[in-house]
Symmetry: C2
Subunit: 301 residues, 2 copies
């Protein structure tokens, strides 16, 4: 049975009744709610749900309709940039699906949101129809408030739906992407410049590792600093390589990684691959993991 | 749904039709054949199967009956010590079962083999009814050939079945135990004495780590030696601690672990725990693994 994951972001993090109404759209057979997190400062909620593609896409459409009904961006304020009531819907292949399958699902969902809800939809990441649309930040530039003006610019036509912003729900970004791992390494120093320098050394945008985004942040209540990473392509750059490079770069400033954390969910194979690396296992296959073998045996008879 | 694993050992590794007949006992709803390995020198086959306790116990009983019908230990020779046609049946708790549950299952299975097949049954490991019966090697001492004499000794009465050996099928040992991980570390030397000294340092029986059995072996075709370990209690001694101690002890002889291997199956949490250790993850929970969360969500609705 193929498994698709979606991590939709909604521009409401304060009104519990609105958040509950959106979450309830994911209560249907074949769909599993994995996580839901609302941030009051960001005024934003992020939901993780997974399941069979058809009912999950149905749930995502229903939640987008509900968000458009209940959220009015003209009265929305929050620290996080946003373009729409349903701001972005990433689709991630988990089991038995290719990235191309997910791109196809993003088109089906995008066309339906555009056509039935009259919300402009942009495709991003692997679903992008133009190179400049791969990047969410670029699509979202100007945010909800700047959308009417941007929609009039040539080359900014949406992929689906009307070429005018939805008056209260703005626009929605949909696309297929790889699983993302939020991985933070804490350094035993309070010098923010060290965290910033290490982040700069490890992130792809400034000469570091492919598929790594990184920022240096202060963690004053612990007297530490943090290299906060998003690993957006753990096939290309596994978690252990990111950690080892952070260790090496930090050492050049006399600092050390004293602990790390994974925020949210992580695909099983990311941790199995880390175990294989550090244990030095030769000829290891995930089929040797009892629970995985059992699942395969149950599926294939 | 609770999941029990069994790793029964049969004293036949050469006649394919016998092996096939035994394996076919595990083809039934609710039971999954995970692995089957036959060794010609040992003249022995080891099967891994898992599933719901009731059908798995049914399959184990059927396979024991089939082995008694097809194997005559009076004409059996092989390098591995053996007491019966079905030599030993370890039961391992995998999901939703305690060790006590597995002890209860071993009693049910043992009583049935003793009663219906007239094969003497000894309970071992966590199921043992006397301290000296915890150890399989101790129960098996004298092997099939010595069994009639040993059965006459006071204190050697079987736990179930007749107090006389089955004429062709001998006796069978049944019991609950923890999952076992077969883990080998290769050292970059051909000095067997180094592997033996390291094995001695790390194994429980000579002052090393609790739950670790170890032997030093030559691997002449690779010009290496191997510390061959059985980790019989990975809750007490996790795989990474065994590896790190092997590294430290080997270093004192100027040797290094250059690769390792896991033979057969390994419980998922053993590798997740190794990943947690080496990545330095703080506050990590297995529920953060997407596939585990998905399974939990599917079970609990």
């Amino acid at each position: 049975m193929p498994i698709l994951e979606a991590i939709p972001n909604y521009s409401e993090g304060r009104r519990p009744e609105v958040i509950t109404a959106i979450i309830s759209c994911f209560s249907r057979p074949g769909v599993y709610l994995l996580d839901a997190h609302s941030d009051q400062d960001h005024n934003r909620s992020v939901i993780s749900a997974a399941g069979e593609p058809e009912p999950l896409l149905e749930a995502l459409f229903a939640a987008t309709a509900e968000a458009a009904r209940l959220i009015d961006l003209r009265r929305h304020e929050g620290a996080h940039p946003r373009l729409g009531a349903t701001d972005v819907i990433p689709l991630v292949p988990i089991e038995g699906l290719t990235m191309e399958d997910c791109v196809a699902y993003s088109r089906v969902l995008g066309a339906r949101i555009g056509g039935e809800l009259a919300i402009p939809v942009y495709l991003y990441e692997h679903s992008a129809t133009r190179p400049e649309r791969r990047n969410l930040a670029e699509i979202r530039r100007g945010e909800f408030e700047g959308l009417p003006a941007r929609l009039k610019e040539p080359g900014h036509e949406p992929d689906y739906g009307p070429a005018a912003a939805h008056i209260s729900a703005g626009a929605t970004v949909v696309g297929a992407r790889r699983p993302l791992v939020a991985f933070n390494a804490y350094l035993d120093t309070d010098r923010l410049e060290v965290a910033k320098a290490v982040a700069k050394a490890v992130r792809a945008s400034s000469g570091g590792l492919v598929g790594v985004k990184a920022l240096g942040l202060a963690v004053p209540d612990q007297g530490l600093v943090q290299v906060s990473m998003n690993l957006v392509d753990t096939e290309a750059t596994p978690i252990q390589r990111a950690l080892e490079l952070v260790q090496i770069e930090a050492a050049s400033y006399g600092a050390r990684v004293i602990k790390t954390e994974i925020v949210g969910l992580v695909p099983e194979k990311v941790l199995l691959e880390a175990a294989r690396f550090y244990l030095g296992l030769e000829g290891f296959s995930p089929g040797q993991v009892l629970e995985i073998r059992l699942k395969e045996a149950a599926v294939h008879g």
